[in-house]
Symmetry: C2
Subunit: 248 residues, 2 copies
């Protein structure tokens, strides 16, 4: 904790049932492995603990965070047996009004280190909060040389004029909601995982973000520029993702 | 702590006296300001607390770490009143044998985020520890496109064939030992703060690192290549820095 070395994952539960739990645990164990953190609990053991926690806390809806740190290191640099903390939280569900209002982003030149790992490194994201507020925006979209990657806690998508859905494939954390949305979208649309530039966004018919807590929210403005702002595709995908998360 | 947002500083004390304390506090307050962490203690108040801690612990030699984190944030992203933790540690003083043995570095392509701030972000440094051990090296030297910046916990210097001392000026944390060494070196040599490339190192007469805990250590090997490895300048600067830190 004193050297910012750790990973976590975060998933929702609804009516006391975890949502997309196996997908989150897949990513959790992958993050741990990449970061050389040895998890002493099997998937089944973790599931048992999570079940006990939800039952004992008696909170039916909310989120659970599993955090793993480098452990009590003798010199602050060599990894020791990791510490694992599971905590339960409530958070407001995204509303219809939020979807209709959409969000505004500002872009900022930054590339997260080890982006494919869900590490606890949110230094830049937190540091940028005053800049986001100053622009009356809701979040930041990281870009490098005009190529966008992701928001600090969500993935980014655009819909082109010919209804192709594009989302970055590289230098990002691959969100569980992102994966689910791609699967859903492929049933109806052409989906491409490839580079998106800031220019592509300006020309896109729709833009939206996805995350566990926000589900899917349309992006109506970037860097003060109003986007085309349609929501036909976003609404369809939102509703299907919402249904899927309720029935999982 | 759960989002890796914090700063710290670390200074030595010898015979119960803090070494270069004002320089460290200068940097501490600067890091805090850059990271928008509001320190509720004046310099004099901090000095009082430090004095009490050293006296009560009754440890005459070692180091003190002052850590500041973002505080108990309501949503994990908005900063709150920071938490401040002061902890005292012992660590072995660098020895004559360590100086004679020198160290071996491996270079690695990485640029720290907000490098001028002494943040708690050591994710890459810790992640690279197995690679360092695998190469039987002592530490890593960050570089980007062949331009070197710093080691995770120390600054880097070379001495050219015509006895000019060069150390990077950009994209680094400016160490207190680095500052002291530059001041000392200027009395005897030409000192330039400018870009150093990996090629420059190969052609250098001497290379060394500086830090609070290690003082000054010669670098004898980088990426498996044996350097020229003279220590005339390094030894002179080491001894003067050592004397200065004893008398400060």
């Amino acid at each position: 904790m004193q050297r910012g070395y750790g990973i976590f994952d975060f998933f929702k539960f609804k009516d006391s049932r975890p949502v997309f739990l196996d997908d989150h645990l897949d990513r959790f164990y992958k993050s741990a492995e990449e970061m050389r953190l040895n998890i002493n609990y099997s998937r089944d053991q973790l599931k048992d603990v999570l079940h006990t926690l939800i039952t004992k806390n008696n909170i039916a809806d909310g989120g659970i965070r599993i955090t793993v740190t480098g452990g009590y290191s003798p010199d602050g640099f060599q990894l020791n047996q990791p510490n694992l903390v599971i905590s339960q939280h409530t958070f407001p569900s995204p509303t219809k009004e939020q979807f209709e209002k959409g969000i505004e982003l500002i872009s900022y030149p930054h590339q997260r280190q080890m982006p494919h790992v869900k590490s606890i490194d949110y230094l830049m994201a937190i540091w940028l909060q005053p800049l986001i507020r100053q622009h009356n925006a809701d979040d930041v979209l990281y870009q490098k040389d005009g190529i966008v990657s992701e928001c600090p806690r969500s993935n980014f998508f655009i819909v082109t004029k010919n209804n192709t859905i594009i989302t970055p494939a590289e230098n990002i954390l691959k969100g569980v909601s992102r994966m689910k949305l791609i699967d859903i979208a492929k049933k109806y649309f052409q989906v491409e995982e490839k580079i998106i530039t800031l220019d592509d966004i300006a020309n896109a018919k729709e833009a939206f973000i996805s995350s566990t807590t926000k589900l899917l929210l349309p992006v109506f403005r970037i860097d003060g520029t109003i986007l085309k702002g349609e929501t036909t595709v976003a609404a369809k995908l939102h509703d299907e993702l919402d249904n899927l998360s309720r029935s999982s």
